[in-house]
Symmetry: C2
Subunit: 240 residues, 2 copies
């Protein structure tokens, strides 16, 4: 029998700190290896711990991955709300939401793909925190469409769920080629096209509907801009 090997010096961290380190390491590894090829041993090495340590804090690989995504979603949703508040007009608000989603995918293709591939396909998806975050996010779109209905821009006989599915589904489908690494796309251009088509599909029927909603939209924007020009404080000046 050999005598016990000397252990490498052990650094003990608080639970929070260690968890944060592991999640950060996992995020890197998942990003550049995908889910299956990301090894727990890779993650452990990058986080400067041993494999067993990871299982002290996470039930399994999937749970660790879920934590990574939760963190990412949290970051994203933060600056979202404030920016949306500044946007006036149904059309612009709709376009903003669409564009944001496209941008998120464009900036984090690897993580986005994994959400679609790994997380959403699980039967336990509804119990996930990510599911809840997603709901909060999609509720905003639904809210915007409702608003449009109240203002008389949109027909009131459309199912809100359907609109949500059209928007998110289209965005996703449109980005699949990019997510597989086949070429690039412009979130701005794509957002314009999608918003246009969706808007038209929802708009009130009638010969002048298109012009009508656009002028309503414009009145909003001009009101907003006029307010800013009238104020002409430091903020507005910077923005010009």
């Amino acid at each position: 029998m050999g005598m016990p090997l000397a252990r490498s010096p052990v650094f003990r961290l608080s639970r929070e700190r260690r968890v944060a380190d592991i999640v950060a390491a996992a995020r890197c590894v998942f990003e550049d290896k995908g889910y299956d090829d990301a090894l727990i041993s890779d993650i452990a090495a990058r986080a400067d711990v041993v494999e067993g340590t990871i299982y002290r804090y996470f039930e399994n690989k999937r749970a660790l991955f879920a934590s990574v995504i939760e963190q990412w979603y949290g970051e994203m949703l933060l600056d979202h709300d404030e920016k949306l508040q500044e946007i006036r007009g149904t059309r612009n608000r709709l376009r903003f939401m669409i564009c944001r989603h496209l941008e998120a995918i464009h900036e984090q293709p690897a993580l986005s793909r994994l959400v679609f591939q790994v997380l959403r396909t699980g039967t336990d998806y509804r119990q996930t925190a990510v599911f809840e975050l997603n709901r909060a996010y999609t509720r905003k779109i639904v809210g915007i469409v409702k608003e449009g209905q109240v203002r008389g821009e949109f027909r009131s006989d459309i199912q809100l769920r359907l609109v949500r599915d059209i928007i998110y589904g289209c965005i996703e489908h449109q980005t699949w080629a990019f997510l597989r690494g086949e070429g690039d796309f412009s979130p701005d251009v794509a957002a314009d096209a999608i918003a246009e088509l969706v808007y038209r599909g929802l708009a009130m029927p009638g010969p002048d509907s298109h012009g009508h909603e656009r002028s309503l939209d414009l009145v909003d924007r001009l009101t907003h801009v006029a307010g800013r020009l009238e104020g002409l404080d430091g903020n507005a000046a910077r923005d010009l």
Copy 2:
């Protein structure tokens, strides 16, 4: 050293027959266990062969899965063409395609889910036979829309790719809850709703009233100016 164990009697089949058996067995197992939980040993047992035999005919688990899906797609596309030929009218034809896709998902939720989860996410998807079959399928939708444009029912300024993505994306998104086993849906009802919205989004706008051109023109100019003044977020910035 022990003497060699007696082998179970060996049944030798033709290559084609054996492959067919294995694919059939694999399809069953994938259907009720999903991809990860479907073991090669399960499949081998159901096909009455030993694990090694499977690797004689398929490079790996993924390739076997791809074969299963190919077979399924093949079956589906067969009766598709003839039925479509009987349908008259752009709107009906569009609705038919949408409904068919919804029905396929409704009838084979397990396989559908696996296509989305396993096959489409792979970087080698474009090299797959399934990819080609999918293209053939989507080309039909594009064809119908083009036809609609020629007949003057649809606007001609819409991107065909976008229409395709809207339709498929929406279908998919709408069926995700079902695919995770949360409740049911009616392909017929869903098809109506989707077809309606899409049709409206593509349809030619109604005739304009007098003098409307001018105000539309003005709206365009003001919109542009407003965009420049607003230019605080990345959205409006593109107008500069």
